[in-house]
Assembly symmetry: C2
């Protein structure tokens, strides 16, 4: 039997590669959702996807490269949900903008879990091309969210909205970790009366802080380097 | 020669243990300040302190137990600095309160580096007693800062101040990591025009966000569970 033409074999091989990449990303998503991002190893991802760990390296250099794909997915999904939550020409109250941002983000627990780990660990372990791809997706989706918010509200300018979106993501990432401690630490918060205030209701607390940020950003020109002098 | 009395030997041994603990904490502080918290290993701490790594286990169970001592130190140092920055009976503008909180925190880079890692990793690796000690110190120092701020300002109530302090620590921890990327990631931000907005001036951005939070928290009763209904 003659072998199939080169173009056909290349297409098969590209298709095979795409399917493998998708399987690995799916496996990482499932494991990270079930057990928390922090515990997901490359070996566990490979096992879950039914791929030998040595073969994973053909598609990804490290667990961080796979997890950064999920970070990009998270940004696209968050922007899509904000787009559905905010109507153009709504009353534009910054508190409603804040609720749309915080409410849609709190619906994405895996993305919240990932957010604290991007700068702290993923960007220290992944290849530069994976870092660039995730960072470009983040910038694009921040702009998409800024389009939606500025169409719904004339009370926050574009610079304020971009700041609010970035700060919401930072706060959500940090707060998610505090609000989801190990069982042992949750037990401490429950049993030691001195530590009761450490227990956090994630969506409630995130919404409060993002409302405060949005209200504060609207009211004051605090002097971003691009927007004039710092208020004295 | 007869051996020294038991009480004397116990005192010597307690003193020896205290000195070892201090040496190890000093070594961890130096290494974490020089190279970043994330890279500090138990072996590196032991080597720096001149203690064999197997002997470290007599004093600490893990690197996380040592780093949580530095977290407690950070909270005490931050509270002391806020106490010096805010005078009782000052005009109490929430923006000045915010500047005192953000300005003093930005002077403590090691503490800022640690803050993002407490819930994400240190509390997942340390013993429950180290976690409890650091968490109790945090609660005590948040109360100390709340005493200072409420004496300087009658425009924020105690609940608002505690929320502001906790949110400032969360934001500072997350923002510090974003603002201090690896050389490779900093190069990406510099060289790829799409990523220029990702570069962050840490003290400036922290001050802006904490001002917005303080202003927003003062102006609105966003409805903490302890403080009434959510604004409709």
């Amino acid at each position: 039997m003659s072998s199939p033409p080169v173009a056909f074999r290349r297409a098969r091989s590209a298709e095979h590669k795409e399917r493998r990449v998708r399987d690995l990303v799916d496996a990482a998503r499932t494991l990270a959702s079930e057990r928390g991002v922090r515990t997901v190893t490359l070996t566990a991802i490979a096992t879950r996807a039914g791929v030998h760990v040595s073969a994973v390296r053909r598609y990804f250099d490290s667990r961080a490269d796979i997890l950064l794909v999920l970070v990009g997915e998270g940004w696209r999904e968050w922007a899509a949900r904000v787009g559905r939550a905010l109507q153009p020409g709504a009353d534009g109250d910054p508190v409603r903008v804040a609720d749309a941002l915080a409410g849609t983000l709190a619906e994405l627990p895996l993305f919240c879990d990932l957010l604290a780990q991007v700068a702290l660990s993923l960007e220290r372990e992944a290849t530069v091309e994976s870092i660039r791809a995730a960072a470009v997706t983040e910038r694009e989706q921040v702009e998409t969210i800024a389009d939606v918010v500025t169409a719904a509200s004339d009370r926050l300018d574009r610079g304020q909205v971009c700041e609010l979106v970035a700060a919401t993501a930072l706060l959500a990432g940090a707060l998610w970790q505090v609000a989801h401690p190990t069982g042992e630490v949750a037990g401490l918060h429950r049993d030691d009366p001195r530590l009761a205030p450490a227990a956090v209701d994630f969506p409630v607390q995130l919404a409060r802080l993002v409302r405060a940020l949005a209200t504060g950003l609207e009211l004051e020109d605090f002097g971003s380097p691009g927007r004039g002098a710092v208020r004295g």
